[in-house]
């Protein structure tokens, strides 16, 4: 099929013109450079909580062995309940605000805590968007993911510095 010269041009002329609007941060609009943040966030400090290996397939007994709990120490007790109690106890002690935003994990986020129990206290009490200290721990959610990053607001970041020390 042949087209006459200029046909495409005429077709384009009949369509209203379009413009692209885009946003990739305030600096892209102002044209001025922002004060560079090392974390990529202008608000708060991201902290990564990541298990070295997935827990899928592990039963509470095995998980407790990973934490370092000796089997004899909870003899006669329900192992799941015992694990939940340990997670709750750990969560209560964490120097974090009562609730924190959960954000997509990046390798650049610092991992302040590396012990399995603390990471479980975060993973089991997180939704896709938020971590809540008071949330009932869900072991199932720890089975499905191995990492979560929390964005700690500026007025709580001094607590992180104390942990690092």
């Amino acid at each position: 099929m042949t087209t006459e010269p200029g046909y495409d041009l005429l077709h384009n002329m009949s369509a209203p013109s379009k413009s692209t609007v885009k946003y990739s941060g305030l600096s892209s609009l102002t044209g001025k450079d922002a004060q560079q943040s090392t974390t990529g966030y202008h608000f708060g400090t991201p902290v990564r909580f990541e298990l070295a290996f997935p827990l899928a397939g592990h039963d509470p007994m095995t998980i407790m062995a990973l934490i370092g709990v000796k089997p004899g120490s909870f003899k006669g007790k329900d192992s799941t309940k015992h694990l939940i109690a340990l997670i709750e106890e750990c969560a209560m002690k964490l120097p974090l605000p009562e609730g924190c935003a959960a954000i997509p994990v990046k390798a650049s986020h610092k991992a302040v805590w590396t012990d399995v129990l603390t990471i479980l206290a975060i993973l089991t009490k997180s939704t896709d968007t938020v971590w809540l200290r008071s949330k009932t721990p869900s072991l199932a959610s720890a089975m499905h993911r191995t990492a979560v990053s929390l964005l700690v607001p500026p007025c709580f970041t001094h607590r992180l510095a104390e942990v690092r020390r």
Partner: protein
């Protein structure tokens, strides 16, 4: 007559009525019996709203008959002021007297203004003092106890089948009626009631039924007195709370209405108890609330769900202790103030904090809502929310704390493009050296990406709302 036919007729007959309305010949109105009785108990102005042929005029005429009142029935759509007061005549001492006619208002115990919504505005203005103060031209109408009116539902722009001549009542006139009661419609009657209405005969009110009504009024007054002595504070607290909660749902009521509601709740509850001692008090209070909203006369629809939830919350607040912070929060109409009070009230139960926060966030304007969500996370208050509300807030917060990148191709002539152009202008004024400016920009960009800003005005309002709310919350 065929025996089978005879049997079916007797089956369909209405059982011996115990309600005062059925006794005076009004069938199927038991749902509004208590508020109508309360209007008689308090002698407060009553407005009936209903479709044509729903027995509004009949009801008022029969009530006046039963109470043995000298009453005047005016068709307000045809009314001239002379019809009301008679003809003016200069007196010997220079005063103005009125030549009274059998139809003039002087000496009436009850007055009925029928078709009040079809009345000329100048006549409506002259009805104000009669309805509210029992005065005409400044002269007290001695002996006038009952002021009643009736109208068809006001026509609205959306209602194609409405009453063309029935105009929404002026807000000030509507607010003069303590009771605004909607008449039940034909389809709300049971088949037995419909048949009884079809076969009804117009017979005079029997003396024993009139006595029954007078006794019922007397009994209701006694109960109302006892209720006022015992529950005055609780009812006043309920009125205060329910008015604030209705205001939160954009149903604004005047201070006069607060007074009316206090009186009508006492009277409707007392009347309900006089009619049926087993009545549930919260149900009686809801009935009083439902019968005391002037918006119905103004053609403003009131969603039953809003009314019900305000009522339930106000009833619940009565069970709270004097110092419970939820009391103060429920009585605050401004959503941002409620949010701030809830943040400060650390003793608030998790479920209450979550409900108050979710409601406040839903009512805050775009921009203000994002600033409030930011505040929740900055202060750690998000940890006091239940998981569902916190997760929802977290979703919005992610868009503010992280850059909500987007790219969209738009026609340059579209209003969405114009909204972006204005937003871009506004955001360009922010200083990128200020960390807060990035949150401001991200919040507005995420609103735009979620298609919540449609016009340049939307963009301006949201920009200002964020700045104002963020400033306010950070100052605290």
């Amino acid at each position: 007559m065929n025996p089978a036919e005879s049997k079916s007729t007797s089956d369909l007959s209405v059982p011996i009525s115990k309600g005062w309305l059925e006794r005076i010949g009004l069938i199927g109105l038991s749902s509004i019996e208590a508020p109508l009785l309360a209007a008689l108990v308090t002698e407060s102005p009553l407005l009936l709203i209903g479709a044509h042929g729903t027995a509004k005029s009949l009801l008022l005429t029969r009530a006046a008959d039963a109470l043995g009142l000298a009453f005047r029935h005016y068709n307000a759509s045809l009314l001239n002021f002379d019809d009301l007061v008679g003809f003016p005549l200069p007196g010997k001492d220079g005063t103005l007297e009125y030549v009274r006619t059998p139809a003039s208002i002087w000496g009436a115990g009850a007055v009925i203004f029928d078709e009040i919504s079809r009345c000329r505005p100048d006549i409506q203005n002259k009805l104000f003092p009669i309805i509210h103060e029992r005065r005409v031209q400044g002269i007290a109408l001695k002996g006038l106890r009952f002021r009643w009116a009736a109208m068809n539902p006001p026509s609205t722009d959306d209602d194609e089948n409405g009453y063309a001549g029935s105009e929404p009542l002026d807000a000030a006139l509507a607010d003069r009626f303590a009771f605004v009661v909607e008449m039940p419609r034909w389809e709300q009657f049971t088949p037995e009631q419909q048949l009884a209405i079809i076969r009804a005969e117009d017979s005079p009110v029997r003396p024993e039924d009139a006595t029954y009504l007078c006794d019922l009024i007397g009994r209701s007054r006694q109960i109302a007195g006892t209720l006022e002595e015992s529950f005055q504070k609780e009812i006043a607290d309920y009125v205060r709370t329910v008015i604030a909660l209705l205001a939160q749902a954009n149903i604004a009521l005047s201070p006069r209405r607060a007074t009316f509601l206090f009186r009508s709740i006492l009277a409707v509850t007392a009347s309900s108890l006089a009619i049926d001692p087993n009545v549930e008090i919260p149900e009686a209070i809801l009935l009083a609330l439902r019968s005391g909203l002037p918006q119905r006369a103004q053609g403003i629809p009131i969603a039953e769900i809003k009314l019900l939830s305000a009522h339930r919350e106000a009833i619940r607040s009565l069970r709270l202790t004097e110092n419970d912070p939820l009391r103060a929060i429920l009585c605050t109409a401004n959503p941002l103030e409620r949010f701030q009070l809830a943040i400060r009230a650390l003793k608030l139960r998790r479920s209450d904090f979550s409900t108050v926060t979710a409601d406040a966030l839903a009512q805050l304007k775009p921009g203000a809502r994002e600033a409030a969500i930011l505040h929740l996370f900055e202060t750690g208050a998000v940890g006091r929310l239940n998981a569902a509300v916190a997760a929802q807030a977290g979703e919005s917060y992610q868009q503010i704390a992280m850059v909500p990148e987007f790219s969209e191709s738009l026609h340059a002539s579209s209003s969405r493009f114009a909204a972006w152009s204005r937003l871009k202008d506004l955001l360009s004024q922010l200083d990128p050296q200020e960390p807060r400016a990035h949150l401001h920009a991200n919040a507005l960009a995420s609103l735009y990406a979620r298609k919540q800003l449609h016009t340049p005005v939307d963009a301006e309002q949201a920009f200002l709302a964020f700045a104002e709310t963020d400033g306010l919350l950070r100052a605290v």
